[in-house]
């Protein structure tokens, strides 16, 4: 990892937290839908990097969002789960392409990229809403919230991803 990419990761980390807590936490579509776009951090993070450090960093990201939104540590739990599962999800989405030395997410097809992002978001939201509601044991409500919030998050994430994509040389 070059110092340049470290710098980009740090900036991305801070900006995504700020955007999440100051803008997206206050959207409240239909009263309860708040997209969680900070998951894009895990999507953008370099593939070949130290996994141990990546899991730790993701936990910290979730914890910071929790800290701002008074949600105990459920963002942290959900984020660390998808950080741990990310290699498996990538194998599922990109298959043999992953073995190439200079493979980047931007090299994959658009469908593969969106599938990867979608699986990350749905896994995250499943863990998040299960933990958020677990005291009432209301499966239907959990699924409803996962469905609608996932749709909003996926839509906005794809939008942001396209907006801030690195142009291919």
């Amino acid at each position: 990892m070059t110092s340049n990419s470290t710098f980009i990761i740090v900036i991305r980390f801070i900006l995504l937290i700020l955007v999440q807590v100051l803008v997206f936490n206050n959207l409240n579509f239909f009263g309860y839908i708040n997209p969680m776009v900070y998951i894009l951090f895990l999507y953008w993070y370099p593939i070949k990097d130290q996994r141990f450090f990546f899991i730790l960093l993701s936990f910290l990201l979730g914890l910071m969002v929790d800290w701002f939104s008074d949600t105990m540590a459920i963002h942290a739990a959900a984020t660390v789960t998808i950080a741990y599962l990310r290699p498996a999800v990538m194998r599922f989405c990109f298959g043999a392409n992953l073995e190439f030395q200079n493979f980047r997410i931007t090299n994959a097809t658009q469908a593969q990229q969106i599938a990867f992002l979608t699986i990350l978001i749905i896994l995250h939201h499943l863990v998040f809403f299960t933990l958020e509601i677990f005291s009432f044991g209301n499966t239907l409500l959990i699924l409803k919230k996962v469905l609608f919030t996932s749709m909003a998050t996926i839509l906005l994430s794809i939008l942001l991803k396209t907006l801030f994509s690195v142009k291919k040389q």
Partner: protein, 273 residues
């Protein structure tokens, strides 16, 4: 020994995940019980200041509406004052040793109403005289109870929180129940434990009860929107439409019951005997 180290190295990612997950779950579960999320809330230096500075910008655009609200409230209070039957006590004559309630003002810098456990952050803290378990109200009705204070900020447990229990009654009667929230709609809260023999009407006003040591009696909460008898047939389950629009609240009053300490001491004495 070598094997143990090898095992740890081999599964270090999995072990790290398990460790972090346990930490997160511990935080989450421990915070379920009252007064436990001490360090882990948005009423601290960093988050408080960030919210306050962004709030300074956003309040600027709602100044007109807020002004209108305050004038309306002043008008209402004047009306009550001028039409009071009893001799009005002059403000200068109020003896600070005899008052029951102190009132502070504050502003909301972070609001939330879409989660099952909603918390609100205020821009006043312990250095302004705020303490845990003071009641927070607006011009329209009740808002919540202070759960944590830092030096300059405080965290309010909103009535839109599954852990919130507030003593409430039907106005002009002595039938008490407790106000809870079922997370479904931010415009309605639920009043429980009102006996089934009590005559109810849709549109009846619900106010705070007298057995709370946090709120004064008769602070408005909302009106009855709907009611039904619970399956156990012993009490009502009442939907209360809140007077407060929880999405747009801005200026709040914080109430300190000066007798609360004495009440709590007395109650704990009885419990210990």
């Amino acid at each position: 020994m070598q094997q143990i180290i090898n095992f740890i190295l081999k599964y270090k990612n999995f072990l790290l995940y398990v460790l972090l997950m346990i930490i997160a779950l511990t935080f989450t579960i421990r915070a379920q019980s009252y007064h436990n999320s001490k360090f882990f809330n948005s009423a601290n230096w960093l988050t408080g200041n960030l919210y306050e500075s962004t709030n300074n910008v956003s309040t600027f655009f709602s100044l007109g509406i807020e002004n209108k609200k305050l004038v309306e409230e002043n008008k209402r209070l004047r009306y009550q004052l001028f039409n009071q039957k009893k001799e009005v006590v002059e403000v200068e004559q109020l003896d600070s040793t005899q008052i029951d309630y102190e009132v502070f003002s504050g502003q909301i810098i972070k609001n939330s109403y879409s989660l099952p456990r909603n918390y609100i952050t205020l821009n006043k803290g312990s250095s302004d005289g705020l303490e845990i378990d003071m009641g927070v109200i607006t011009a329209d009705g009740i808002l919540g109870i202070i759960e944590h204070t830092s030096k300059n900020f405080s965290l309010v447990q909103s009535i839109l929180n599954v852990r919130s229990r507030i003593n409430a009654k039907i106005k002009n009667t002595n039938h008490y129940g407790s106000l809870t929230w079922d997370t479904k709609d931010y415009r309605t809260a639920q009043l429980k434990d009102i006996e089934r023999l009590v005559p109810l009407n849709i549109g009846d006003t619900i106010v705070t009860g007298a057995s709370s040591s946090i709120f004064p009696e008769n602070i408005p909460i909302g009106v009855i929107e709907n009611f039904e008898i619970t399956t156990s047939q012993s009490s009502y389950h009442i939907d209360v439409r809140l007077f407060n629009d929880m999405t747009t609240v801005k200026n709040v009053y914080i109430i300190k019951n000066t007798n609360r300490k004495e009440i709590i001491e007395l109650e704990s004495k009885i419990r210990n005997d």
